[in-house]
Symmetry: C2
Subunit: 323 residues, 2 copies
């Protein structure tokens, strides 16, 4: 379940989504109720769903059906990483449009789903298959386990914000496609093959003492605001430190506001850079872990730009499918 | 996950669905792998998904958005009844089409989902919400628990087949709508408000010793063939005994082949009629429990028609969305 902006038509959208978030609260057998990246059921089961709809979340002129199926799984499983969970498997509810291409496309889409689940070490646990009146779509139900869920709440003033990997690559690919330009292979890969940071998130909880965290699906600024709101704190991001995807087309704007990075943002107790935690992460995963800001009292997300002495509030700019 | 026919375009469809059914088999932490009505994860968690798509599974000129949301939940939760599980809750992944009506329709659809879950004693555990390029749809993930799953396998020659409630009402409503005729309220209700037989199925397992069972979503004949195949037995249905929905429009054809009844079909050890089990069910649930056939050696489903001495094989005639 991803975030949104409350602006414009999003306000009505937020009201409808509010039903998902708050209807029942925590009942019997529910450890973590809806509202975080996933729900946790006793004793340790983590469950989340993620819809991927052709024309909204992917386009078949940008990726082929096998890639589209695989991408939907990667994006959905990222919600488990966001909770510090390991993957058990997924259920996939697929709707296939009629027409000459339904059978080969459907078979490739389903194979992409299965192949990606298995490559991630999980099992295809079931699902549903039906006809669609128009577009190809899948709802991926990601199922995992954790004895120690990583929540959006728990960050404290003084904590440091760290992010895995690089930012902005997927959004840059989308921008280039949208402008009719060719998309470099490295950026295309960032869009078509999101990497759920499952082992990385578990390490950040167990070895680095992460207090709060989530995956970056809406963009760093938007997702940091979710963490800030859930933790009851403010966040300052430092523009000069953001680990942009290493390609000249990638901009700060895309690293801040572009969606679909699926990296992990965590609040760590201070000192990870000096006591070697960050370096140990890098050695272990061959992936950067970068300090991108700090947690402070207050609320909301601010940005400290190079050459400035005080941060400026960022409007929420996360990805909203209804915007 | 519902059944299908292998005929015509269904053959290709079956091949794609085969990926869902058999990809990973039973792995670590999986008690009942895909292929039954739901998957069971250790220690007792039952999970199933069910897509409901406007134009395929429901039409907004037949029911309003609140009813459509409620119906999707009832149909999905029936998969838990099919496993003899109690309901914990559901996750709902909803896609809303754009246009003037999206906000009121979306709000009503979501309220229908929430209201039905809560009326069934469950919780709304999360989900996803996104835009749809065309039709309204929801994937309902039903989550339940059982220490004693009711499987499709386990029926033995000599067992008796029993069915809860009445058959054919929903299919008759659909036929009348399709013919442009008015639909009597009792039949409309059978279509728009499926009743998952949760407590009934648990009783049939715990008090009546049900050996195998499933819910009737594809039609009695088709679902009996699923039970027969999974149990490695044959089934004889007795036409004169089928409990037709009490309305003169309802035909034997609809009771046999009509989908969407969501009653429970179980194989009971012989003698339920004479030892009072069936009567006790009726007293407890104010719902008929009817003996509709027997299990024998062999395979497939046959029908014994009134005035005939030997049963004739039934072609599989379950509901297939690709037919």
């Amino acid at each position: 379940m991803k975030g949104s902006t409350p602006l414009g038509p999003g306000r009505e959208f937020d009201r409808i989504r509010g039903v998902l978030r708050g209807a029942s609260g925590a009942g019997e057998g529910v450890q973590v109720p809806p509202g975080d990246d996933a729900t946790v059921l006793d004793p340790d089961l983590v469950i989340s769903t993620d819809l991927a709809v052709e024309g909204i979340h992917f386009r078949l002129d940008w990726l082929d059906p096998h890639e589209a199926g695989a991408r939907a799984v990667g994006a959905a499983v990222s919600d488990l990483a966001a909770m510090g969970a390991r993957l058990v498997g997924v259920l996939a509810s697929v709707a296939l449009p009629e027409g000459d291409l339904w059978a080969p496309r459907g078979a490739a889409f389903m194979a992409g789903i299965r192949d990606r689940v298995e490559a991630l070490g999980g099992q295809l646990l079931g699902g549903d298959l039906t006809r669609s009146p128009s577009h190809l779509l899948v709802d991926v139900v990601a199922v995992g386990r954790t004895g120690r869920p990583l929540l959006r709440s728990g960050a404290r003033p003084g904590d440091e914000l760290w992010v895995t990997g690089h930012l902005g690559g997927a959004a840059t690919a989308v921008r280039l496609w949208g402008a009719g330009r060719s998309v470099p292979a490295s950026l295309r890969l960032r869009y078509i093959r999101p990497e759920p940071r499952l082992a990385e998130a578990i390490w950040l909880v167990e070895e680095a003492g992460a207090r709060a965290g989530l995956d970056l699906s809406d963009g760093l600024a938007g997702d940091a605001s979710h963490l800030a709101a859930a933790s009851g704190v403010g966040v300052v991001l430092e523009a000069s430190t953001l680990p942009l995807e290493p390609h000249p087309e990638v901009t700060l704007e895309e690293a801040l506001h572009g969606g679909d990075d699926f990296e992990i943002l965590v609040a760590l107790p201070p000192g990870a850079a000096v006591d070697g935690r960050a370096e140990a992460f890098h050695r272990r995963f061959e992936l950067p872990l970068t300090r991108v800001g700090v947690v402070r009292k207050g609320s909301g997300v601010s940005l400290l730009e190079p050459g400035h002495h005080s941060p400026v509030p960022l409007t929420r700019g996360g990805w909203d499918h209804f915007r």
